[in-house]
Amino acid sequence: MIEFRNVTKTFEDTDTHAINGISMKIQDGELVFIVGVSGAGKSTLLKLITREQLPTSGDILIDGTYINHMSRRKVPFLRRKLGMVYQDFRLITKMTVFENIAFALRVTGKKETEIQEKVPYVLDLVGLTDKKDCHPNQLSGGEQQRVSLARALANNPKILIADEPTANIDNALSLEMMTLLKTINESGTTVLIVTHDKTLVEAIGGRVIELDKGVIISDSKPEETSDDETLQDSSIYDKLVEQAQSETDNMTTDTVSNYEEIVEQAKKELQ
């Protein structure tokens, strides 16, 4: 569980309150979207969770541990519980897809035998087994984002954090990525997604925390969200699928079939 207790983050150099007295709880296994305009405090919130930054006041707890009081030595072990997906993918271009994922395992001290088993497994999860020997620059944006996701999943994170995962990919692939994240969440992983794409949020469904000027202005939990606002609303979903399908004209055959499979799977799951 992630808990914020009256957390404030002030940047003294610019005298900005990026986060202003936020209190919230995110339970294990939740799918949470953090939305808001630029400068609302979304990125700062993520940085506080990953301990890239410390709050000016208040406490942040992950699984009952005060991470703001955690020694620097213990921070890497906290981060092993978290998987990060970035909007710019952050893949090492000199390495192949396989090596990129293996790298994340190797630097956390995993044995080579474990790496050889784990990498094909996560590549299979994101549907990129046949791309394992490609370099990132040989992949589409969506594929690169899936590699980034596979890398985040490699260390079996308890919490998956995606920072604008669809910002640099087109609509069809955005839906594909969100569907993947939802599937991961359904397997029990807590998933936090920072996005400003409200249409996707409405389509996928889940808890939505909206920030503005460092304050939570709305927190709609799934049970509070009406059915017609979620993916179960066929009108929004169909609109997205239609939009996505129109984009498939420009895709390669492989991507189209892969994409269609995901859409079909999503349809089945929702019926």
């Binding site: 030595r73 092993r80 978290l82 956390t108």
Partner: protein, 300 residues
């Protein structure tokens, strides 16, 4: 074992990926090691030279004319008790006149036996020439001592040269060492900068600071070792070349330290010094990166 292999692999990879910068680093460390090596070897030679000069610096303690044999021995015992005196040898007036007359043959018959005008004396050698004055004061207090040959000037000169050589050598090593660390830290800093993206990923997935650092430290170490090995061979030519110039022009009769005798020590010292410089350089440049988090690592 796998980790050690990984660290060395990554360290070597860092060198290979940044071949140009690595080559420059090795070159700079080599220059510093060579200059330090030359300075050290010359310092060793000068120190040996000074020591040899110091060995011949014997102080004569002349005794009163009317001392009995027992009193003469007492003076010898008291001299031997002074801490800074390394050797005390009795030098009789007969030995004195013999040596004197060999130089001045005309006086040979005139000053023998009862007519010998020289007093008995002790030839002493000092441990530490820098304490010459205080030692002489202690000797002067001994009853039966008439006069002490005043060679304080020579003692001071030798001490000063020795001190200057040691100080200069240390300063040269210190300054060149600092320059080496600065340049290596910049070189490793460039490698870190080139690999900042990997570092940010490593930190985000939970790599410990030591895991992030060690490949760069290994890289610095490998650069230092390479520079040390190459420098040892270059130093041979540089040292022997410089020595032949010096011997031809200034010190043709002086015995110097042969490079072949010290090659093993030089190699070991060069590797150790190179390794130390490489590691220090890496540590200096790593410090600031380890304190950074997330996008700060990338400089965003």
């Amino acid at each position: 074992m796998n980790r050690i292999k990984y660290f060395f692999h990554e360290g070597w990879k860092g060198i290979w990926y940044n071949k140009g910068m690595s080559l420059a680093s090795v070159g700079v460390i080599m220059c510093c090691l060579l200059l330090t090596g030359v300075a050290v070897l010359f310092s060793i030679n000068l120190t040996a030279l000074v020591e040899r000069a110091g060995d011949s610096n014997v102080v004569m303690v002349f005794l009163d004319y009317d001392l009995s044999e027992k009193q003469t021995k007492t003076v010898g015992t008291q001299l031997a008790k002074i801490k800074n005196i390394a050797e005390t040898n009795f030098y009789s007036k007969e030995e004195g006149i013999k040596e004197f007359s060999e130089a001045l043959k005309d006086l040979q018959s005139e000053f023998n036996g009862e007519d010998n005008p020289l007093p008995d004396a002790y030839k002493i050698k000092l441990h530490d020439l820098s304490q010459y004055d205080s030692t002489i004061k202690q000797i002067e207090k001994i009853n039966g001592v008439q006069k002490i040959s005043n060679r304080g000037g020579i003692a001071h000169t030798i001490t000063e040269i020795s001190r200057m050589v040691t100080n200069m050598g240390l300063w040269v090593i210190f300054i060149l060492g600092l320059i080496s660390v600065f340049i290596v830290s910049n070189a490793i800093g460039s490698t870190i900068y080139a690999r900042r993206f990997e570092i940010s990923i490593m930190k985000s997935v939970g790599a410990t600071n030591s895991f992030v650092c060690i490949p760069f430290i290994v890289e610095g170490m490998l650069l230092g070792i390479m520079a040390g090995i190459i420098s040892t061979f270059f130093l041979k030519f540089l040292y022997e070349g410089l020595l032949s110039v010096f011997q031809m022009q200034y010190i043709s009769n002086v015995e110097v330290v042969s490079y072949s005798v010290v090659t093993g020590y030089v190699l070991l010292a060069m590797i150790l010094a190179g390794t130390l410089l490489g590691i220090l350089g890496a540590v200096v440049s790593l410090g600031k990166y380890l304190r950074r988090e997330g996008n700060e690592v990338l400089g965003w």
